[in-house]
């Protein structure tokens, strides 16, 4: 199994009480709550923690893109990727991923990925996403055209990587007179493209298409949904007439390992609950702006939310663990959870979120060490 260590880089010194007064931890969270001195420390520690992933033997380390939020301090994930390249030798650097529809000229993404690929001598994994709904509020990008922009940007980037330039590109949203990439990517024909997703059927059909066969990663979802989406990908691939490999199927989840289940739960609780209740807190209007999904999906979402609003929607660790959103426990428990998912889906990519919410470096490190020593060997055999 391919194992990656990943963080969102949350701003942990956040004053949670003050942040709770804002409509959301995204878009409108007052940036007066950000202290650059503490923030500088955070960047240093988060980068150290990711680098430690290579030391411990992970196949790769991952970063991603979010804007105007305490949830993640990486609006420009390629900057962090560039720093990681300088500090590592072997590990893949997975950018999971750049939000293509937010770009006005997607060539810049093609260029940056190509630079990173050269600088790392081919260690880059290029993730493409649409970005979550809140990014459309932060960037001003019209969500109605999100899918269209994503597909056009994707086509432009892949062609820019593979077709000798210069040539011109014409589409509804992007009209580029000269496409002529310097540098070209190091990996040939281009860096692997991975698609992190919340599991929309449109994305499944697109990513699994025989022309692409892009690895599909389900992020932050209840185990039942992860299983459904990954098996949905497999079914779709079979409809296309091929059997997908496990290397096309991935799961991203918060992971915490300690000596015993009890201790793990005690140590992970605050981090996990702040991740889901404080850092990920946003309104439905932010999460799913109109056009970001189909009218059908949006209707279903708001119907569910109506039944949601009547009950306390605080997500406790117990609730999250019962739903299989996260893996918390002894090495044995965590391994069993991974094996269960592997059996249910055939997935062969696991992306562990080893730091989450307010979880301290010290605990994240210990958990990563224990995972490397007691869980990783079983997943290698």
């Amino acid at each position: 199994m391919k194992l990656l260590a990943f963080h969102l880089m949350p701003y942990r010194p956040l004053d949670l009480d003050a942040a709770a007064k804002a409509r959301s931890a995204w878009v409108v969270l007052p940036n007066s709550l950000y202290d650059p001195v503490k923030g500088a420390d955070e960047y240093e520690r988060h980068i150290d923690l990711l680098v430690y992933g290579e030391t411990l033997g992970f196949d790769g380390i991952g970063v991603n893109e979010h804007h105007q939020t305490a949830y993640g301090m990486m609006p420009a994930p390629n900057l962090i990727a560039a720093a990681l390249i300088q500090r590592t030798k072997k590990a893949k650097i997975a950018i999971l991923g750049r939000a293509l529809p937010l770009q006005n000229n997607p060539i810049f993404v093609a260029e940056e990925y190509a630079m990173l690929d050269n600088m790392s001598r081919g260690r880059i994994i290029a993730g493409f996403v649409r970005g979550i709904g809140a990014e459309y509020h932060s960037s001003g990008t019209n969500p109605f055209f999100s899918h269209e922009r994503f597909h056009e940007a994707h086509d432009l980037i892949v062609r820019a990587w593979t077709e000798p330039g210069p040539w011109s590109f014409d589409s509804e949203n992007f009209n580029i007179r000269y496409v002529n990439l310097w540098p070209r990517p190091y990996q040939q024909p281009h860096p692997p493209i991975w698609i992190p997703s919340q599991g929309s059927s449109e994305t499944v059909a697109w990513a699994s298409h025989p022309d692409r066969k892009y690895p599909f990663l389900v992020t932050f979802s209840p185990g039942e949904l992860v299983t459904r989406y990954l098996n949905g990908y497999r079914d779709q691939a079979r409809k296309y007439g091929y059997e997908p490999s496990g290397d096309q199927l991935g799961w991203a989840a918060p992971i915490y390992v300690a000596e015993t289940d009890e201790r793990a739960r005690e140590e992970a609780k605050a981090g996990l609950e702040t991740l889901f209740n404080n850092y990920l807190r946003m309104t439905g209007e932010m999460l799913i702006p109109p056009g970001y999904t189909s009218q059908q999906s949006m209707k279903a979402f708001f119907r569910n939310r109506q039944s949601f609003a009547t009950r306390d929607n605080f997500m406790s660790m117990e609730h999250l663990l019962a739903n299989g959103v996260a893996l918390v426990g002894s090495a044995k428990t965590v391994l069993a959870g991974i094996e269960r998912m592997r059996e249910a889906t055939g997935m062969n990519i696991l992306i562990g979120l080893f730091q989450f919410g307010t979880l301290s470096d010290e605990r994240a490190r210990r958990s990563m060490e224990r995972f490397a020593a007691e869980v990783m060997p079983h997943l290698r055999s």
């Binding site: 409509r23 878009v27 409108v28 459309y136 509020h137 001003g140 990008t141 019209n142 969500p143 109605f144 055209f145 309104t283 439905g284 209007e285 932010m286 702006p289 109109p290 056009g291 009218q295 949006m298 209707k299």
Partner: protein, 260 residues
């Protein structure tokens, strides 16, 4: 007399059209919320006028063609519409997004227009004074911000839409997003052509409008050569509903004057 409802096809787009009354024609262009219900306002104007209320492409019972991508496209479509329908010497009234649309139509071709009435109109922006964010407000918050009179808001909130109405609301919201998300509810090129609109113009605004604050009305009046302002006190974003009597009287008087 109840409004006649028909479907007319202009180019490849079927448009649901409501018509009521007799007299000089008045074309009313609805706002981002669509035509969720027939308003007493239409019947009141229809006393002495023929009121046309189409549902815009992308809204309500009309088709939703992908090729109409923005308000300027929609304005060009309406030029086809009025030509095909033989509408001439008509009065144009637009509310909110429909006000924006009315101004875009008028700067392209005002040869058939007798007058222009803009109510709480989108389309231009006052720098440094952003419009209220209809895309970030929650459903209840939106209703409370639309109406100044909170008793009115309560009545609106008490209405539980049917499944079919929910579908229409969602369709309208998607289309409004397409047209209004970025730049938020305006076209940077519109304001510079407003000087060409040399025709009788009425600007109607609610003083407590939380979507487009009253300063937007001042900017319209400043840019439009023959505009008169009716500022409605104690009123939110839908003056023709919230202060119907007052606004109907003002608009009827204006239309009669402009019909001469």
């Amino acid at each position: 007399m109840p409004a006649q409802v028909s479907t007319v096809t202009i180019r490849d787009v079927a448009v649901k059209l409501h018509r009521v009354g007799q007299g000089p024609p008045v074309l009313f262009l609805h706002g981002a919320n669509g035509l969720m219900q027939w308003l007493p306002f239409f019947d009141a104007i229809a006393d002495g006028f023929e009121v046309w209320v189409p549902e815009h492409p992308g809204f309500g019972g009309s088709d939703d063609p992908a090729w109409i991508r923005n308000i300027p496209d929609l304005a060009m479509f309406y030029l086809d519409f009025v030509e095909e329908m033989g509408l001439d010497k008509f009065h144009l009234i637009g509310h909110s997004l429909g006000g924006w649309l009315a101004a875009e139509i008028a700067i392209r071709d005002r040869s058939r227009l007798k007058s222009l009435t803009l109510m709480s109109a989108a389309g231009i922006r006052v720098k440094g004074l952003p419009s209220g964010d209809l895309f970030i407000w929650g459903p209840e918050e939106t209703v409370r911000n639309i109406w100044h009179d909170q008793a009115m808001a309560e009545r609106m909130l008490a209405i539980k839409p049917t499944e079919a109405q929910m579908d229409v609301m969602l369709k309208n919201r998607f289309t409004s997003t397409k047209f209004g998300w970025q730049p938020r509810w305006f076209n940077p090129d519109l304001e510079k052509w407003l000087h060409r609109l040399k025709l009788p113009t009425l600007v109607v605004w609610g003083r407590q409008d939380k979507v487009f604050p009253w300063q937007y009305a001042d900017l319209w009046v400043e840019r439009l050569p023959q505009a008169r302002l009716v500022m409605v006190e104690e009123c939110g974003h839908a003056p023709h509903v919230e202060k119907a009597d007052n606004v109907i009287a003002e608009i009827r008087a204006f239309l009669k004057e402009a019909s001469r």
